[in-house]
């Protein structure tokens, strides 16, 4: 009977995570993407492969050397750019606490 299961559940442990008080470290998760300047060879594969046009190449930044900018508001976290980079200059982190009140922090217009 359902009542037996209901009463049994009162004496079992709840299966709730303790998230806001205890920080959460996921094992496999596609979070924010970081760019490593020294390894990048400026081949622009990531720009070509991104399905939602979130990766952009800024020619004039960093004293005319060029900077890869990722718009985290457009990114869909598919990690195609991370997979296809030949030198592993784009690194995926597991950071998911990205909520903000200013769009420019995420790189959007």
């Amino acid at each position: 009977m359902l009542l037996v299961d209901v009463v049994k559940s009162w004496f079992s442990r709840a299966s709730t995570t303790k998230y806001p008080r205890v920080p959460d470290k996921p094992k496999n998760y596609r979070g924010k993407i970081e760019w490593d300047d020294k390894k990048c060879i400026r081949c622009l594969t990531c720009v070509r492969v991104c399905p939602s046009y979130a990766v952009k190449f800024n020619k004039k930044a960093l004293h005319e050397r060029g900077k890869i900018e990722i718009d985290h508001g457009k990114c869909i976290y598919c990690y195609m750019c991370v997979e296809k980079c030949p030198v592993n200059a784009l690194i995926g982190t597991k950071e998911f606490e990205l909520a903000t009140d200013d769009k420019r922090e995420l790189g959007s217009a």
């Binding site: 359902l2 009542l3 209901v6 559940s9 009162w10 079992s12 709840a14 299966s15 709730t16």
Partner: protein, 280 residues
Amino acid sequence: MIQLAVTLVSAIFLIWLERKIKARSQYRVGPPIYQPILDLAKLFQKQNLRSSLSNPLMNFLPLISLLAVALIAYSLPLGNLGGSIDIISLIFLFALTSLIYVFAGLLSYSHYGFVGAKRELIQFFSYEIPFALGIFSVAIFAGTIYFYHPFPFSIILVPSMVAFYLAGLAKLRRSPFDIPNAEQEIVSGSLTEFSGPSLSVFLLSEWMEAFVICSVFVDLFFGFNDALISVALSYMVFISFILIDVVTPRVRLDNMINFFRKFVIPLSVFGVVLCYLWTL
């Protein structure tokens, strides 16, 4: 006066208990114990918006509902603390709390309000007869219409007791008969257009009604002269309401009408006739 204080404290405690028991039955952690008070207090700080098509009298209805429930709570016999109400006024005040819910839905001029009011009215016609006949059968059995002391248990009253229990479950709008606020999972029934302080007064009167019905049930059918035992028994009656709520799904409106018409109303009529024949 002390009965009113007990009702207020018990109302908030019982609502927390309901949310906690439903949460623990689903393997969740529920809200902390001070959560209902925080909900009511937060609602007082919000704006009281009203759509331009609705009637301005809409904001007075929660006060009338709270007054009706508080009147019953003030004059309820709790054990050896005497009551001061007669059975006719009791039935009138209980009907008033339900009809205020219907009026609230109608005056708020929204589709969800109309549908919620219509469903509550149909449910009212089903449960009011066993509710009133249950009270009448106790009056006939005890020979008095004054409700000054709790009435003790007697085997003759068992059919009326079962009918009154099911009618109480329908009156409190709990599963399996929670059709008027079925939309609360989706939209909100009669309470859709209320916001801010009106909503919090309405919620408080609903919560107090829960304790008052359980207390009346205990006092009518198995009353003890001790106040603490009466209050503890009404808590247990409410916990049985919660358990039925947790395991049953919601029934359709015509299924509910059939159930009441074919089983509960004949049972309550049988209870009244049995009590009358016993007193002859």
